[in-house]
Symmetry: D2
Subunit: 362 residues, 4 copies
Amino acid sequence: MSSTFGVLFKISTWGESHGAGIGVVIDGCPPRIPLSPGEIDAELRRRRPGQSDLTTPRKENDKVEILSGVSDNGETLGTPIALLVRNTDARSSAYDEMQHTYRPSHADYTYDAKYGIRAWAGGGRASARETIGRVAAGAVAKAVMHVLCPQLDVLAWVEQVGDVRCEVESDKVRREEVESNEVRTADATSALKMRELITTARSKGDSLGGIIRCVVRNAPAGLGDPVFDKLEATLAHAMLSIPACKGFEVGSGFGSARLMGSEHNDAFYMEGARVRTRTNHSGGIQGGISNGEDILMRLAFKPTATIMMEQETVTDAHEMATLRGKGRHDPCVLPRAVPIVEAMAWLVVVDHVLRQQACKTL
Amino acid sequence: MSSTFGVLFKISTWGESHGAGIGVVIDGCPPRIPLSPGEIDAELRRRRPGQSDLTTPRKENDKVEILSGVSDNGETLGTPIALLVRNTDARSSAYDEMQHTYRPSHADYTYDAKYGIRAWAGGGRASARETIGRVAAGAVAKAVMHVLCPQLDVLAWVEQVGDVRCEVESDKVRREEVESNEVRTADATSALKMRELITTARSKGDSLGGIIRCVVRNAPAGLGDPVFDKLEATLAHAMLSIPACKGFEVGSGFGSARLMGSEHNDAFYMEGARVRTRTNHSGGIQGGISNGEDILMRLAFKPTATIMMEQETVTDAHEMATLRGKGRHDPCVLPRAVPIVEAMAWLVVVDHVLRQQACKTL
Amino acid sequence: MSSTFGVLFKISTWGESHGAGIGVVIDGCPPRIPLSPGEIDAELRRRRPGQSDLTTPRKENDKVEILSGVSDNGETLGTPIALLVRNTDARSSAYDEMQHTYRPSHADYTYDAKYGIRAWAGGGRASARETIGRVAAGAVAKAVMHVLCPQLDVLAWVEQVGDVRCEVESDKVRREEVESNEVRTADATSALKMRELITTARSKGDSLGGIIRCVVRNAPAGLGDPVFDKLEATLAHAMLSIPACKGFEVGSGFGSARLMGSEHNDAFYMEGARVRTRTNHSGGIQGGISNGEDILMRLAFKPTATIMMEQETVTDAHEMATLRGKGRHDPCVLPRAVPIVEAMAWLVVVDHVLRQQACKTL
Amino acid sequence: MSSTFGVLFKISTWGESHGAGIGVVIDGCPPRIPLSPGEIDAELRRRRPGQSDLTTPRKENDKVEILSGVSDNGETLGTPIALLVRNTDARSSAYDEMQHTYRPSHADYTYDAKYGIRAWAGGGRASARETIGRVAAGAVAKAVMHVLCPQLDVLAWVEQVGDVRCEVESDKVRREEVESNEVRTADATSALKMRELITTARSKGDSLGGIIRCVVRNAPAGLGDPVFDKLEATLAHAMLSIPACKGFEVGSGFGSARLMGSEHNDAFYMEGARVRTRTNHSGGIQGGISNGEDILMRLAFKPTATIMMEQETVTDAHEMATLRGKGRHDPCVLPRAVPIVEAMAWLVVVDHVLRQQACKTL
């Protein structure tokens, strides 16, 4: 269990890499939200392999089919929305070796330990194809928010690949810049350097990790449910559930460890009728509840586990073995992880908006 | 909503700082687990203010009352366990100013934004006293695990305060060392330096943040529910729900961003009949499921928001104001956060152990 | 697990008959709802034993303590509301025999079968004292509804005891009539007959069952979540969770089996601007959603299991035995079940109102 | 929200009558359970229209596609199982009138009241086609139980149609008898009478209701979670969520109202090493927990709402109108409701078995 996420805007994803398809059911989407397959496909294209020469050349021409929950004229019905993306281009043969040999730092061994069985081809449920369901559901969440909270926006970008870091102020970053380069970083110079790093890693059969930054802009004050479903806690849950994510920070994050309270506290002031803070070390969240400032997150991603180099490992018969990655893989997952991060942020935010609506007494 | 945590070992905490008390109800505790108030009080003592001269001199002589769910001879009944700790030593007068003036980087403004009302005295629900319920429930979780999974242990310690860092290998740290110094760090030298830093900060009316490391030892392979309730995702949720926590890492964490796949991957090998990994960048979790290695986490905590210095702020009437912290506060929360971190780890682990039991087919 | 009920207005009850007390935590109560202990005590008095000579003479002078979630001036804070009622007048000795001998048609054997342990004194968790938490939480739900949906009302009464039946039209019944007689039936004549029946049964050491009718008036159209949380499905869940409840009907109920569609269908018509139905066989619910008509339910209750007559049974050592009920018990639970039924109805309705608020898009 | 059911064996159904299809996602199915599409199709055939001349002649040649969660060699993977049945034979034109005119005792008006929008063709989400997801998931639950609890069985049959009642002792009924007649009642004589009644009703354009009996045999003692998720409470929830179900009884049900405690109590005795009861008024459940006896339920179903007779109603513009049913409908839903009732029982039972496994301490 646990392919289910969300309290009120509840999604259940399903699907293995080499099964019939990947999908998601959304239970709890409000009615009368305009929604078209095109909006979902647009997000899926951003996640798709083969979108640039930096990603795996696998061709996954994913197009969503809306199976339920949307009326003929394109409005949500309030009933569950089922979305299906069929699997194609599955070359199981590339994975034959994986049937009995555990890939290092993959989920092969642990799935066997947990379930006593696994769909080995393409990584099965642990494949990155699983994230299709998230991205599709995130597109629906975004459509809901455009109605309920139209000013709110979510933007993510690659801040770091290996040791190349893109230094920008988060409130200056624009979506057009991010989408204009294949790395999805925030400036052209960094994009070039990151691209070179990724190309080099791939030529060596090696891989790279990095950091993604995500900002939620114009969130209303009041989102987040203390004490266990603090906004940052549910965001952390969402982000750490993304494959390869190893760390999460909100606001000052790990940097807060070195600051004094006098440096870290965010002084309040009035900007017209609006309560603002002079600084934003809180990352837009105080006591688990949004304060109206930008919600700032940083996420660490490990380097892709599949590398084209020989590695020591064991088989499911518990014999020593070596394994060299095959198949078509991204040397760096970050460019394609950007829409996944955004999708998870949309899913968390829409759920908290509905939860906040629920307890309104005015 | 959301003072509820856990799927099968489900806890609901309640209580405001200056209300009648603080408590927790545990629904889903297995039956016939030996449990005494003494075990719970022992953990509460580690959380308690006034335990050393580094913490607030507030005296909270918290003792738990077990109201239900435990038989006369000290075994759990399988029915809900209600735990109550009465509030005492509440000096609301120290907080008078807080009634209308928002403390910077506290939850005063956001609670008002969310609820339109708040229990201002002592921070109300956002007070650190709320964590009593967590620590008490964590002690129960620990008692359950001693029966279901006796070899498993959870250990946390202060790794960093301000810029003083305790460099130890996590598998060398022993509980006795940690508990032998009032900072709860892993070696005596660091303890002295951290102590000095905290004392200095307090004398200036300022505060400090830091980093806590937590390790779960001897967890069986197979814990964690992909895809959304990955073990690291639920741990991150748990940890980021702790007041003042700003960041979470599992295994290599943010450091993974700078490693190549060939450096980061954890090669498998056989140690007798057991599958092991040569390194542990994965932090004991692969694909969201434990692999039997130590589960390694790091958590960032911001400096205490209450400082004895004048700060700019606004009132609930939206007028500019200044505020200087009063009352009795910890200049650094980390020593007392250690048992809270451990409690949250126990709660996550016991829930996953029960979930794993549920789906056994053999 | 499962002492938790509700999706958004979530209650967790706890407590054994002869433990320290009985209580409930409500997580998800909206803020700024006026709430006083008096409102809760008023409902508890209706549930209390000893309120008339028809009920057990046990004296349970239950008064609630609000431990959290309510401000000093009596408004809910939006945070969890913890309610505590201390146990008193516990005469465990009256139950000594129960320690090893299973009472027929009680939960002694099944608790042992499930948990391998049980709090035998007074029935432990399976005691009717458990319903104190429900009634207290129901009083809070009622207070919330008075703000969110002030026209809505819930009324229950005893329709039948043994074979004495009170024939009234449900829309004619008034609360004053019901509360004016100790049986809580809807007219004085039936009250007398039922009283006689109960008195006779008690004098024989025997017991009686019966039927309670419950109506929710002035519910807005639109409550209820198809398909699994249909309004009648959650009501049935709530009612069948009450001790001794054996059956549930909505609208035409079992009587619908003998009607033709042409007799059963509720024709629509306009009453001014409001859509109404000519008849109400649907019981105010169509497709799981309220249609604005009265929501009509009937609930069957079995006769009290404890009787003062010798019965065949077995011990926990699996030896044959006989048992004669002792202690002080109601010969008929129905008069005291009325406020419990109402409480469960309030809890279901408030949850659906909050759920409906959550998905509003206008 | 609420197309989701179950705590550990969690199903999410989706689909409108005239949309692309109907389906279900099962999250929490244990791994390594043998499962084939054939087992699911076999149950779907029992639910299917057109299986006899007593049901609607609509042809729904439903075949399931297993989209995920099952390995190539037919074992569950422990990951979500997605099942899809495509819609075919959809004649929307038969429903044109329904677009603006509310069918009496259908869900047209209430869906509009709740969502402000509805998929009118064929009843949309409120169509009986929705139950395909339940039956398919129930078949999976049954497959799980065959591994975890192979002796347990669920059997339902039609006890009453209109005023024709099949009087049999529930422990005598065999599946072969039930499946051998098109009404799915328990003896041939009743079958003939019921058949005649249904045929007559259809010839008049009218419809019939009735009663289904369901028994769970050989359930182990110990299933069911007090206090809110009592076994009978979750069964009632499940059954009342079935379209047209108006009442639920467990054991003595409404009949218990007329019994004295001395008549109703089930005396315990030993049958070898097994604790048994002499009678079974409890219906196999005491204190919300199974006691090992047969679990006995009775369910009332109202007559089909669609009748071929002119009825008074209103339009969505709130104007008076008349409506005569069109399309192809069952004059009595009971024969096809039998497999739905069984499916819901399997779903409840498997969930409680997994919940019971979760809290085992031995």
